[in-house]
Symmetry: C2
Subunit: 152 residues, 2 copies
DNA sequence: ATTGAAAAGACTGCCAC
DNA sequence: GTGGCAGTCTTTTCAAT
């Protein structure tokens, strides 16, 4: 079920991608539409599912969560049951902020958030390494990241 | 500059993490506060920088962007100039939706979005492999992902 | 924390193109 | 079909108590 998206819709998505808190009036002003017209387009994008939702961007540092580590995980066994067991166990770990199921050298990548490196080590040893079916694990510490609008 | 955050603030952040479109009234109802009281806490979190912003969640499939690939990149040289050259060149590639600078086996990880695998191959060969200072490149195709509130 | 009031923004018909 | 205008209604925002 594809959706018709013209250049004006793309412009709206680009603007909203940078700041989803903007109102229909301000968006309309930037793309040359009245407030109701812009609002109608936004509702259409929402109803069609292109706009799936709005999410918070948090400052983890100010929340006392200074360490973000990406874990690339290769499973020892890769049957259906192994994947389900692993995903269920991962979902129970509060420190896991994101689970990416991938095809390639690694089967999963986890974004793990912790207060500091000592806290991360505790999570790694007591939670991650005890996950069912875990084979090779690779860790990378996040230094900085930049989000970009992507090919809209 | 740390910010005092109590359990009610955390509850508000947890609720907003799932749906940032909710208003102060609905948030207040869920944490047992009046609408102005909830609004004041939200403004305090925003002013203190804990709430850094609101971002869109898009359905890439419906936008005709069906392929997401993560590229782990190891640079050949790692001087200050090499990092800056690489980051500047990466910023010019529209298909790069995210740039993560990391410490570990890989120096950078890129989230690349493309229409399909043929489109991705074009980006990989003409944009990524021609980036300055690129050494080893590892690719993983995203199958599915789940975002979780993390340790709030 | 509650009330109330002003302002901003979201939403709806109706009409023109 | 899309957009604009005018209006209603809801929510936000900020007083006052």
């Amino acid at each position: 079920m594809s959706v018709e998206i013209d250049e004006t819709d793309r412009a709206i998505l680009r603007i909203l991608s940078r700041d989803a808190a903007l109102g229909a009036a301000q968006i309309g002003a930037r793309v040359g539409l009245s407030q109701p017209a812009a609002w109608r387009r936004i509702r259409r994008l929402r109803d069609s599912g292109v706009l799936a939702g709005r999410r918070l961007e948090l400052d983890r540092e100010k929340l006392g969560l200074g360490v973000t580590v990406f874990l690339g995980i290769k499973l020892a066994a890769k049957g259906r049951v192994a994947l389900e067991d692993f995903e269920r166990a991962v979902s129970a770990i509060r420190e896991v902020a994101r689970v990416e199921h991938m095809l390639g050298l690694y089967d999963y990548r986890l974004r793990v958030v912790a207060r500091d490196l000592a806290d991360f080590e505790r999570v790694l040893r007591r939670r991650i390494m005890t996950l069912p079916g875990v084979g090779q694990v690779e860790a990378n510490v996040l230094l900085s990241e930049e989000r970009r609008p992507g090919p809209l």
